[in-house]
């Protein structure tokens, strides 16, 4: 069993607190992704789980055992680093087997395991090369191999694909997904790329400034973001936010257009209406009046970047045969089932009419 239980974890560097009251339960063999903007603390959290950083307070349990004070090697976790961190003067074979050499395992046994891992990662022809003779993707796989050899309960990945170019990144993403199916362990993965998060994760943990903003399955976060930050972070292109004021069961936009709300909101309160680009369509009787400032045609889909009367910018998705032009003034209609309502503080308070 490789369940992780983090309770009340805080971490400070001197006077600066970088992790605030982190509470997290990670299930057996789950694939959890920590995601968030730079500086949100996701790498720090990962390194604290790894044991490379000391926690200031709180506890970490792995499989019921308290590992909060253990050295990294005693925690039964392995880490794959962003820049691979391969030992430059050692061969691939020696790199992968390093941990077992440190543990003084029998040499024949090490060799056997190294070859096994190499086959799994398609590195068997490269065992006697040095890191400098390998491509980025190959190096990454050696780093993964090194982690595999420790037979850990948990694999920790620290932005492993950030140093690869776009094409290779897609490739490696698929390989990691395949790896996950081949191994029986919990994966904790850190990235700033929400596409990686959405495609790889069972559970996503969104972090901001050292706080957990929301935990949930990718589609949960997509359909029911807890606050404006999560709503804006997950999903590409970004969700649009229209400023509005509440009047009974209606939200009134700056230019007078209205959209119905699912329930009462205090009269006069400031709201932000969240609508994803794919839920805005040009419509004759639409409530949202905009001027088109930019059109992007990507092939299967097009986007119109528009501006409201008060200057707020929106993006709307268009069908490929939209026939619209720059500068055109059109009306957009919203799919009310996908309308999100956020209060002045950014918390989600509900949806539009016909939405739960």
């Amino acid at each position: 069993m490789s369940t992780i239980s983090i309770k009340g974890l805080n971490k400070s560097y001197g006077k600066v607190q970088v992790l605030h009251d982190i509470n997290l339960e990670i299930g057996d063999n789950a694939f959890v992704v920590f995601v968030g903007p730079s500086g949100c603390g996701k790498s720090t959290l990962l390194r604290t789980i790894a044991g490379l950083e000391e926690r200031t307070s709180g506890s970490i349990h792995l499989d019921g055992r308290d590992i909060s004070d253990d050295a990294p090697v005693d925690r039964d976790v392995a880490m794959v680093f962003q820049s691979y961190a391969l030992y430059p003067q050692m061969t691939v074979r020696e790199n992968i087997g390093f941990a077992l050499r440190m543990a003084k395992v029998d040499k024949a046994e090490i060799d056997r395991k190294v070859v096994e891992a190499a086959k799994l990662l398609k590195l068997d022809k490269l065992l006697d090369r040095k890191p400098k003779d390998l491509s980025g993707g190959q190096r990454q796989r050696v780093a993964i191999g090194r982690a595999i050899l420790r037979s850990p309960k948990v694999f920790l990945f620290d932005e492993p694909l950030s140093n690869l170019d776009a094409e290779l990144r897609v490739d490696m993403r698929l390989q990691i997904a395949a790896l996950r199916r081949a191994l029986s362990a919990t994966f904790v993965y850190v990235t700033h790329d929400q596409v990686e998060a959405m495609t790889l994760a069972d559970t996503i943990v969104v972090l901001k400034d050292g706080f957990i903003e929301q935990i949930g399955a990718p589609m949960d976060l997509y359909h029911r973001p807890a606050n404006r930050f999560v709503a804006g972070f997950i999903g590409s292109p970004r969700m649009n936010f229209l400023p509005a004021t509440a009047q009974g069961k209606t939200a009134v936009l700056a230019d007078g257009g209205t959209l119905p709300l699912a329930h009462d909101v205090a009269d006069g309160s400031e709201l932000a209406l969240g609508l994803r680009p794919e839920h805005l369509r040009p419509a004759e009787g639409g409530a949202i009046a905009v001027t088109i400032t930019e059109i992007e045609n990507l092939g299967p889909v097009s986007y119109a970047h528009c501006a409201l009367g008060d200057g707020t910018l929106l993006t709307a998705q268009l069908p490929p045969d939209h026939g619209l032009k720059l500068g055109q003034q059109i009306k957009l209609g919203a799919e009310l089932t996908h309308l999100h309502v956020f209060d002045a503080k950014g918390t989600r308070v509900g949806g539009g009419a016909a939405h739960g």
């Binding site: 390194r47 790894a50 044991g51 490379l52 050295a71 990294p72 090697v73 976790v77 392995a78 880490m79 680093f81 962003q82 820049s83 961190a85 391969l86 030992y87 430059p88 003067q89 390093f98 941990a99 440190m102 543990a103 090194r146 420790r150």
Partner: protein, 280 residues
């Protein structure tokens, strides 16, 4: 930009003149030494110190090496400098490793103590140092000189090593920690190969400083058979002061290792100079 730094023909000539003049000032003593060291007898030196030798004989070098014991002095220098280099490179690198990567309460103070040693030269503490060495029974031993010289080079060496190590990312060491490597292993297998340039710089600076050191051996050695070459040549002078041809040969024997080191590693040298002193 070019216009600023390019020189007209006349300017170039003037500049060349000045530079050649200083080059002569620099090379003159060495040239004279070389020429006269090959002269077969003293008379020739006196008659015409600036003339080329009538015949180029190596006799003076042999005489100095064997007859005047330079071979022994040279050997002592090799032992002292060699040991000092090894000790300083090892100790400074391990100390830097702990202070930078494994800090603890008080490591900042220890670092401060080393930096104090960069500013305040060891010679000021001559008297207490002499007492220490004497008490330990290390007076007039090569070991004593080696330890004192090593200690005198430690501050600058630690400074260079810590500065370098701080600029190296610690990811590789993190990986080794994850793999269960203990500090010894991390130091030996991961860190040492990474700080090779700093080690080269420290080794070079230590070697030259140690080889050229006159004062410390003077204080801590008494028997001539322990003398390094710097003391040896002073001894030599008291015996052979007038024998200039021999003196020149002896001096050149002393100069050769540092000139070789310089030729082989001139860039390292200059880098070490600017690194040790300036951080512009």
């Amino acid at each position: 930009m070019d216009k600023l730094f390019r020189l007209s023909r006349t300017e170039q000539l003037v500049v060349q003149f000045i530079l050649i003049a200083w080059a002569i000032v620099v090379l003159f003593p060495i040239g004279v030494a070389v020429i006269n060291s090959f002269k077969p007898n003293l008379g020739e030196v006196y008659r015409g110190p600036l003339n080329l030798p009538s015949e180029w004989s190596f006799g003076n070098y042999v005489e100095a090496w064997v007859g005047a014991n330079f071979g022994k002095y040279f050997l002592n220098s090799v032992i002292i400098s060699g040991c000092t280099v090894v000790i300083v490179t090892l100790c400074a690198s391990t100390t830097a490793f702990v202070l930078v990567r494994m800090p603890f309460r008080g490591s900042a103070i220890i670092f401060g103590c080393f930096m104090l040693g960069v500013i305040i030269p060891i010679r000021l503490a001559l008297a207490p140092l002499f007492v220490t060495v004497n008490t330990l029974g290390l007076l007039d031993t090569l070991t004593g000189v080696i330890l004192v010289q090593s200690a005198s080079m430690m501050p600058v060496a630690v400074f260079i090593m810590t500065a370098f190590l701080r600029s190296v990312p610690s990811e590789l060491e993190d990986a080794a920690r994850m793999d269960g490597a203990l500090p010894f292993s991390i130091y030996w297998r991961v860190v040492l190969p990474l700080i090779r340039p700093a080690i080269a710089t420290v080794a070079l600076l230590t070697f030259v400083q140690s080889w050229n050191e006159y004062f410390l051996p003077l204080i801590f050695l008494q028997s001539p058979e322990n003398y390094p070459i710097t003391l040896g040549i002073a001894e030599f002078r008291s015996q052979f002061a007038v024998q200039w041809h021999l003196m020149f040969a002896g001096i050149l024997i002393m100069l050769i290792p540092t000139i070789i080191a310089f030729v082989l590693a001139s860039r390292q040298f200059i880098e070490g100079l600017t690194q040790g002193g300036v951080k512009e």
